[in-house]
Symmetry: C2
Subunit: 768 residues, 2 copies
């Protein structure tokens, strides 16, 4: 692979020019003739019986064309077994008898403009009977807590539990046993774009959605049954998407609302969330309360682990089970310990439905696990680096939960970051209030969570020699189109600017599973595009062989040309070959790639199985300074290394690696959705909810470690997630190194540090 | 084929409901945001140098957003050799230095609405230098006639000439030699819809046309070079089309105008012709002056034929050569005469560019040939029926010009129609002023006029069991979607209502040659769809075999189900199989059919070759009454029989057969575009240009003769043309039988009959 032309090059994103010039078309840019604007009336209470909804005044308000309530909702929707198996049943309805969180949808209006729709909402009269509410999952499990769903005892939506090896024996063999509880918070995805969709029925009753969701294929499976139309009459077009991070994934309600309004009004309807609606409805990252017990020998060998995660599902627990699984398995697999016990509880609360935020499931668990690793190292007097190198899973391992490690650059990731930060020179040796910390992480590169868990792509060569990639892998800002285009360009010997990428339109693009698990774009999508491009090349060779009176096997391709080996003077351009194919032979140059990884679904009881065709590793080392008077943490330096197998586009990978860390600094240090006692979000805006700005972002130095994953295209694995996994524990550890307190709850605010310092001081006084 | 379920059934058109309920979307129904409306300033003179075009006032007029003139026109457009070979160079430009017909495009305006655009046109000042004009092709060839193009001597755009056998020897062997000249007129296609297109550039510079043209694929080849964009950036969507009959085919000018306006204004632009513009610009059927010399033996055997056709190409002779070829070969092939000489001249005149009206090229020539056959029969005292049966080409013949006759129901066509009309009892035996006449015809069922002259189709089975046909064969009202849908339904065992037909969108639909020659839908498109559906069935069987643990060869299909032979109780529905394929296997059920007939292109010098995979035959017999006082012809009865091989949809075929005759009654008796001395159309509206109404239409009895063409799907041939070929000669012959005058010029108006009656009377007086 020494002669790669396009793969491995730091090329600008293929959609960059469109985005910076404003040419890119977002859902909000679409204005259909006669289009109406929707607004949603949301529950004023966190938990209440909805006794009556009176829309008579709203219906007569100026400009109003349609109003819907629970009476317009589909009931008893038949969802086949397969759908239940794959995804559980997603939310899709306005509240019927009971509203279960503040912001849940009660009614919706479509009017000539947004203002008229908003005015009409004020005229809807809702009669509630308030019920007691609970917003914390631990509280929700306590006896006497308000019951949110009749069928969920103790409000537990899902409980998963398993044990590997002999945990009690492991603990018996340990020299020391550590037990701690760690806690994270609800985090707002804070996408640049807001949730937006347009529903438009044509004259024949065919329904088209234009939207920025990352769920088109899930929607194309569910919405027909919910809306009562044939699947072949539904078309979904994904417009440009201003980032996503998992927001609102799987929640079908806004799409159902928009379609029902469009149907009732007989006009296209557009719904765009306000930022406040994003906060109360678009799906935060779940919070988790993680209790770990770990047994270790004096030399640092881990002998037993007991992991218990309690997490909130929100009022409707759509992604609960997946969240549990997704948090447990990478947590269990990172270290070589044969004795692992696990219990995961997903608990209903009177809060918004949660979403699979970046590095779904693992981030809260990893904060606990890696914080505890640092604790153990300190307590045993072992360098945290050495403790990890001693226990970490290595190349060739099959982990306790069945992960097969085909590539692993973790040691090199650690080496690069500790070298950068000057670990040996600085750890424990810095002036007062300064400290260094480190942590590592592991995540899936893709996940099998469906019978077909691969990717299908088409690659066409058009009559002017342009290459067109048609793939259902989604672009939501992570650069998937660029990476997939580079692969197509590489295989067909054209420069990147000759590659076009088809809009994601379910009427045209082959079925794709969607972004479920690990951002499967590079591995699954990349393999599919590579196969499709190779198939297109084969077709080009067949046509060119006829034109050159040669055998296909004797042909070579490159520089947008095809020639007989040894005779480049008689080269045909790709355009000549594709033009000949189209206009003389009426054959389309259209390669198809169908890639399916050699993986299995995790066992539903034990969670065992090699569910990903590659696993990504990361290590991070940080240096901080803590002001003991204010508790304020100043992050001085961050080194982050990712083992991504191979960087298809190093510049894009650097952006992912460093950006992922930068984003996570928010939840670690600043962010958190706060509910008041009545179950209302008290900070649903970007003033009160503090996102880090560029001024809050410290220097971040990234390293790309290329371990070459045999299952990935050109050796590549995923690189869009993982890097946000260890940063919380690394920072907490550096804070301990600086001021001697361990913070076990996020966000690590100055208040929490000050309180810990006060407690520590009180403890020292008591001891003294 | 005794068990056909859908093919051969008289089912309602698949688009009927959409059309009668107003759901069908025509180009005029599309309203894009910010869309402007275009109007075209047209030459006021038939022939003039355009000295200056001043648009300064128009540009400042209210609501005007863009004005274009010749200065905006692309020049020296590179059109590759292949394009020249296939289609010659089509018109695409505003007049540059010279306007060559009244109505030629001089300038165009895009404004907020049509009225503003029209008002602005009045402000454009054009300075002309008038030149002498000529509108008749015979006059145009005379010495001293105005020269229309510098490079066309005697204004002849194209001359084709050939000779088969020994024509002089043939004439020497004849007992009688007949020579006559016949003339037809310019005929307006009179489509229900008017020419309409919308051009819309998106933010990335990609151009989409929405239009009712039947030329999307020709446009997708030409327009990129003309408009200076990459072919992959052009997309054409054919909206519902209110009939066409060949109107404006190949004329790219309105599309270029609309796109240039859209580009200049930065907004979508819609251009819709007025009815007057249709008359002056949308392409009439060419007129022809046909001179025939025929040698016959006393027993009626034809020994030699000399055919000379002079036809007008209009001011730009785009389809001239094709028109000549298309007129000559079926004319030569219908009768078994080895000695044929031919000369065809296509002549520039200062009239609109002509179009390939229904049964392109042959209709004027057939009027001459069949009128002469009737004349010969009368003169030799042979029944016209017998004269034809004696000389006509038969099954198994290879004709003098190379046509291979694989099916021929002509004798049965003749028998059915003469029986219906009571030919033997009536001919020469009716009361005064009543008469009967007959004639026959032959035409291509499809035509090879390109290296690829077949059809490509995709047939998909969607996850709900719906069947989707994707074909580039065009629907312009002839029922192609219904016929192709019936074939797909037949092959996949589903009822017709389960078949969807994809919109013709060049971004999605495979390349199709287009409607060049003979309406290739049934033969070429039908074969392609049949192959594609069979391929889809094979894929369904493969998937179902896996589901049923059976072998694909053991499966049967029907009633929307698939089962193992002998075990219908365990049948799977098509929906189950397709759903499994999509969601479990990620395989699309998508069959591809690529059909190419075993034909050759006609030799460019001699016109020899078997250019069609089937030839269609027709016979017509009519009864008329002529009022000798007024010259008015009352058509009492028409019998028309068509040999269409096999009627895929008998009801639709009857509509084509009878409707084709009904339409042609207009040109035969009423219609004709009339130019005045200054080269202006004097009847550019539906008041002065007389189309037959339903009240003008006599009883027409149709017969479908199924001769089974081996090359056609289920034995079918084309049935949309041919039936308008013999009607003029049959009526002229009946008029002769009624009142003893032979009319040799169309339309056969009362005036012409009266004049002929007066001349006959004068002649009889002179003889007396």
């Amino acid at each position: 692979m020494g002669d790669l032309q396009t793969v491995g090059k730091s090329l600008p994103r293929v959609d960059a020019l469109d985005k910076v010039t404003g040419r890119a078309q977002y859902t909000c840019d679409i204005d259909l003739p006669g289009m109406l604007h929707a607004k949603v009336l949301r529950s004023a209470h966190a938990h209440a019986r909805v006794l009556a909804v009176d829309t008579s005044a709203a219906e007569k308000a100026p400009g109003v064309k349609a109003v819907i309530t629970r009476d317009d909702m589909p009931r008893d929707v038949p969802l086949d077994e397969l759908q239940r198996e794959l995804f559980a049943v997603p939310p899709y309805s306005l509240a019927t008898d009971t509203a279960r969180y503040t912001g849940e949808e009660i009614a919706a209006v479509a009017a000539d403009d947004e203002l008229a729709a908003e005015e009409a909402l004020r005229l809807v009269r809702v009669e509630y009977e308030e019920l007691p509410a609970v917003t914390d999952p631990v509280e929700a499990m306590k006896p006497g807590a308000p019951r949110i769903h009749a069928d969920a005892e103790d409000n537990v939506q899902y409980r998963g539990a398993t044990e590997y090896g002999d945990v009690e024996k492991g603990f018996a063999e340990a020299d020391r046993i550590f037990e701690e509880t760690y806690r994270t918070q609800l985090v707002h995805p804070a996408t640049l774009d807001r949730t937006a969709c347009i529903a438009s029925y044509d004259r024949a009753g065919d329904l088209t959605f234009y939207e920025n969701s990352i769920d088109p294929y899930k929607q194309s499976r569910y919405l027909p049954a919910i809306l009562g139309i044939a699947p072949s009459k539904l078309r979904i077009v994904q417009k440009c998407n201003g980032s996503n991070f998992g927001a609102l994934q799987g929640n079908l309600t806004p799409y159902v609302i928009t379609a029902l309004l469009a149907k009732k009004a007989g006009r296209p309807v557009r719904l765009v969330y306000t930022r406040e609606e994003e906060f109360v409805n678009a799906g935060p990252r779940q919070l988790a309360v993680t209790t770990l017990r770990t047994g270790v020998k004096a030399d640092g060998t881990i002998t037993a682990r007991d992991i218990r995660i309690v997490t909130n599902a929100g009022a409707y627990g759509y992604l609960g089970p997946a969240m549990i699984t997704s948090g447990f398995t990478p947590c269990a697999g990172l270290y070589r310990c044969p004795n692992v016990r696990f219990e995961g509880l997903c608990v209903y609360t009177n809060t918004a439905v949660t979403s699979p935020y970046r590095s779904f499931g693992i981030v809260p668990a990893a904060f606990a696990m890696e914080s505890m690793m640092n604790l153990i190292a300190e307590e045993l007097g072992i360098d945290p680096v050495d403790l990890r190198l001693k226990n970490a899973t290595r190349l060739g391992d099959v982990t306790v939960v069945g992960q097969e490690i085909g590539s692993c650059g973790l040691p090199e990731c650690i080496e690069k970051t500790v070298d950068h930060i000057g670990w040996k020179q600085k750890r424990g040796k810095l002036p007062p209030n300064r400290g260094v910390g480190m942590a590592v992480g592991m995540f899936d590169s893709e996940v099998r969570n469906a019978p077909f868990s691969g990717s299908v792509a088409l690659v066409k060569v058009l009559e002017d020699g342009a290459v067109k990639v048609i793939s259902g892998e989604f672009e939501w800002g992570q650069g998937s189109r660029t990476v997939l285009s580079q692969i197509a360009a590489e295989e067909l010997g054209v420069p990147l600017e000759r590659v076009l990428f088809s809009e994601l339109d379910t009427a045209v693009v082959p079925y794709a599973l969607g972004p479920y698990g690990g951002g499967p774009v590079t591995m699954r999508g990349g393999n599919a595009v590579r196969l499709a491009a190779a198939d297109a090349r084969r077709q080009l060779f067949e046509v060119a062989a006829g034109m050159l009176a040669a055998r296909p096997d004797d042909l070579e391709i490159g520089g947008q040309k095809i020639w007989v080996s040894g005779g480049p003077a008689r080269a045909l351009t790709l355009a000549e070959v594709a033009h000949h194919a189209k206009y003389i032979l009426a054959e389309e140059i259209s390669g198809r790639g169908h890639f399916e990884p050699d993986t299995v679904m995790r066992d539903r009881e034990t969670f065992y199985g090699n569910y990903s065709s590659g696993y990504t590793f990361t290590a991070q080392t940080v240096e901080v300074e803590v002001d003991p008077e204010t508790g304020k943490v100043k992050v001085l330096d961050i080194a982050t290394a990712i083992d991504l197998g191979k960087a298809i586009n190093p510049m894009a990978a650097e952006g992912q690696n460093e950006g992922c860390v930068g984003q996570e600094l928010g939840p670690v240090l600043l962010e958190g959705i706060v509910y008041d006692g009545a179950g209302r979000v008290v900070n649903p805006n970007l003033i009160d909810y503090r996102l880090p700005t560029s001024l809050d972002t410290p220097p971040i130095t990234g390293f790309l470690i290329e371990s070459h994953e045999p299952n990935g295209p050109y050796g590549a694995k995923a690189c869009g997630q993982v890097s946000n996994i260890p940063i919380a524990a690394a920072l907490a550890s550096a804070i301990f190194d600086a001021v001697g307190v361990r913070i076990k709850e996020q966000p690590i605010t100055p208040e929490r540090i000050l309180r810990a310092l006060e407690e520590k001081e009180a403890g020292e006084h008591a001891t003294a």
